[in-house]
């Protein structure tokens, strides 16, 4: 067992952290999240320069051959500054699916693009009725000659408005909730027959409801084999969960530090409110929640390569921890800040919102407690 970061990983953390400190200040975040695109595209290009996309990808396709620990380091820093760029759908989901199951041609084309920051992907998996079941897919893909033809709708596709490529789960066989029969496609977002309704999310991202009507996708854009996409998707989602756990710990750390600092300056009854034991113990619980979340993030990150069952248990265990801790830390941060914590102006509320939505993403506490118990 080894719990040390490599020299490369430490350098990576320093460079991400420095770039974000210098260029991703909260005041700027406030401005660009209110624009129509909801982002400042220059950061994506800079992330590419810094090698963040290449970091976890295979060397044969423009990557640096790192792994989940590199992603963890990057996402923790992203969480600290509320980064809105779709790193996880593009690099973790897209990069992960392609590296593991993509054809040589798909790898050659897309992994190089991902590593260079030349593509943005969105993951269209959820449907209005699917809730957190990744196998609940009613969107269909029918083979016609050299194409698959997609019909159906996807719900709350995060970052879709800025993406050029969609990763779509669609049913090529079986019934609506069967794991067998789910397939995964890379779909050009400009393809004929795609209609989107774009909107902002409560945590500063952008998303779309997407409708597919007779959208033709070349068969070569199938990732893996037809009907067998479920296991691929489940693994990619577990990897995304690990990445978002890291993001959540970064966000929690900011809330713990900000709240503790605030309690040392805010005075009531003539003393700093941090002198009150009722508040001290609550802030300690925030701190413990954060520390336990760091531990669970490490746990899931280091167990992603184990058997499917062990990996699923690890991911669900971590998601339960992060879901509960994130919600609690967010609520307490707002409560201890009092009225000022309720304002849009202060950053605290935005971290609270991000953490709240991270609990929902890829399944909330209840869902993952059930999934964990089912694996035991």
């Amino acid at each position: 067992m080894d719990f040390n970061f490599s020299e490369e990983q430490t350098l990576l953390r320093n460079s991400v952290s420095k770039y974000l400190a210098d260029n991703y200040a909260y005041e700027n975040w406030r401005k660009f999240t209110r624009t129509e695109a909801g982002r400042d595209p220059k950061h994506w290009a800079q992330f590419a320069e810094l090698g963040l996309f290449a970091a976890p990808l295979p060397e044969a396709y423009g990557g640096l051959g790192g792994g989940a620990v590199d992603t963890m380091v990057i996402m923790e820093e992203f969480g600290r500054t509320l980064v809105v760029e779709p790193y996880v759908p593009t690099v973790v989901i897209g990069g992960g699916l392609l590296a593991r199951a993509g054809s040589d041609a798909l790898k050659e084309e897309f992994l190089n693009k991902i590593a260079a920051g030349e593509t943005i992907m969105a993951f269209a998996f959820a449907e209005a009725q699917s809730r957190f079941n990744l196998a609940n897919v009613s969107t269909t893909a029918k083979k016609q000659g050299g194409n698959y033809v997609l019909n159906g709708s996807k719900a709350v596709v995060l970052s879709a408005p800025i993406a050029d490529t969609l990763i779509v789960t669609a049913r090529t066989a079986g019934n609506q909730r069967d794991q067998k029969g789910v397939s995964v496609f890379l779909v050009d977002k400009n393809a004929k027959g795609i209609a989107t309704r774009d909107y902002a999310t409560v945590d500063g991202l952008r998303a779309s409801e997407i409708h597919f009507e007779n959208v033709e996708v070349p068969a070569a854009r199938l990732i893996g084999t037809a009907d067998d996409g479920y296991a691929l998707v489940e693994r990619a989602v577990d990897e995304a969960i690990a990445a978002h756990c890291a993001e959540a710990t970064g966000a929690m750390k900011v809330l713990v530090d900000t709240t503790v600092e605030y309690s040392k300056t805010r005075k009531q009854f003539g003393v700093p409110i941090g002198k009150f034991q009722a508040l001290q113990h609550r802030m300690v619980d925030m701190f413990i929640n954060y520390e336990q979340s760091v531990s669970m993030t490490l746990m899931v990150t280091l167990k992603l390569g184990e058997s499917d069952g062990e990996r699923a248990k690890a991911a669900s265990a971590a998601k339960v921890q992060i879901g509960k801790a994130g919600r609690s830390v967010g609520q307490e941060a707002v409560q201890i800040h009092g009225g000022i914590g309720m304002t849009e102006e202060l950053n605290v509320g935005h971290y609270f919102k991000r953490l709240t939505m991270l609990d929902t993403l890829y399944g909330n506490v209840d869902h993952h407690l059930q999934r964990y118990a089912a694996q035991s």
Binding site: F3, Q277, Q280, H281, D285, S293, L302, L369, Y372
Partner: protein
């Protein structure tokens, strides 16, 4: 960064596993389950480990430690828990031993450390007093210097297993006229000294585990003082940090959850195993998740320690979370056994049971484990420690 074990570490695991299988007798295993255990039953495993040279993994090698790294210590704990081997008592090995090799003089090290290792000396902890629980620095047991002796008068309480102890390490007040923390000294006192009286306290669960210890003009040689006079609070706090991190008990809790799963698999609800009910399986799932978080927090702490960082106030997290998990396990076990939580084992003869074997004594164990969030500095005090020392509040 990785969780894998090297071939050398796997070989070490086999060595530990083989040793335990050979050396830990069924009597030793069984002895720890009984209440009102004899002194010999506590010491049998300690002495076995001593002969093997493995009794003090946490000590520096020059004093008889094993020189194991973090992973080896982790493996050793896993294997002893897996085999349900007994635990060693912490009072000498984890508490006063490290104080002596860190703050004691050469003579003290030579005199006391070998006897702690061998199990010849049984130590108990003279910290709490009737008026000094969470507010430990408020202690009143007085030590007055007379020539080359201190004369000690006062009372300690909640003294675990003092009935067997050869020695007690004591916090005593040597200067009543300064801030409470600045007038405390750390004394080692021979329990056979005239003037010491031990009286039992029976706690929930019906067992004699703790005592009151009275000091009536007890003469203690000055050479039995650790470090400087009136600096005892520093040594006392050092000991408490070690005590806290030792309380986490991850490997033991893993084993206890395994047992809880077996019990919940044997108990039925209208013919189906309790463990398959939605509500109970979720409770166990949550418990395992909490334990996993604790395990990785402990591993992070150990990894930091192995890089030379001392265990700090963060060890309070291990104490809080470790005891919460332990208590939750006993709580769910009592929940699992249903009506057979009722029989009081003390009303039955030796080796007599009512109901399934696994239910025997579980309720008493649950009641007794409420102590865990009180001892070693109550969990509320641990919150205060983190608030002050980590968050700077």
């Amino acid at each position: 960064m990785n969780l894998s074990f090297s071939p050398e570490e796997e070989a070490f695991r086999q060595e530990v596993r083989g040793f335990i299988a050979r050396a830990c007798t069924p009597e030793m295993r069984r002895a720890q389950e009984g209440e009102g255990r004899s002194k010999e039953s506590y010491l049998a495993w300690h002495k076995t480990l001593y002969k093997q040279g493995w009794v003090a993994p946490q000590w520096p090698t020059q004093y008889g430690g094993t020189g194991w790294n973090v992973t080896q210590r982790y493996i050793f704990n896993e294997e002893t828990a897996r085999a349900e081997a007994p635990t060693t008592l912490p009072f000498g090995l984890s508490m006063v031993g490290p104080v002596i090799f860190t703050y004691g003089n050469e003579e003290q090290k030579k005199k006391y450390l070998p006897r702690i290792l061998s199990g010849e000396d049984w130590w108990c902890q003279g910290y709490s007093e009737p008026g000094a629980g969470s507010d430990l620095a408020n202690l009143r047991t007085r030590a007055v210097r007379e020539g080359d002796h201190y004369i000690v008068n006062g009372q300690k309480t909640w003294t675990t297993l003092a009935q067997y102890a050869d020695w007690i390490f004591c916090l005593v007040r040597t200067d009543p006229n300064v801030k409470p923390q600045e007038g405390i000294s750390f004394l080692l006192i021979d329990m056979k000294t005239p003037g010491i009286t031990v009286k039992p306290i029976i706690v929930l669960g019906g067992i004699h585990e703790v005592n009151e210890v009275f000091f009536d003009n007890v003469k203690v040689p000055v050479e039995n003082r650790i470090g400087e006079e009136n600096k005892g609070w520093t040594y006392a706090k050092f000991l408490l940090v070690n005590e806290r991190s030792g309380i986490a008990g991850v490997a033991r809790s893993k084993k206890a959850i395994e047992r809880l799963r077996e019990i919940a698999g044997a108990e039925t609800v209208d013919g189906s195993p309790l463990i398959e009910t939605d509500s109970f399986s979720r409770k166990i799932a949550q418990l395992e998740i909490d334990l996993a978080a604790l395990e990785f927090t402990e591993l992070r702490t150990l990894a930091a320690e192995s890089k030379g960082q001392m265990a700090g106030p963060e060890s309070s997290i291990l104490k809080i979370k470790g005891t919460e998990v332990q208590q939750r396990i006993t709580e769910l076990t009592v929940e699992a056994i249903g009506y057979y939580g009722y029989p009081d084992v003390h009303s039955l003869g030796d080796n007599e049971y009512v109901g399934p074997d696994y239910a025997n004594g579980e309720a008493g164990h649950y009641f007794n484990m409420r102590k865990a969030s009180i001892y070693g500095g109550s969990n509320e005090i641990q919150h205060n420690i983190i608030a002050k020392a980590v968050l700077g509040l």
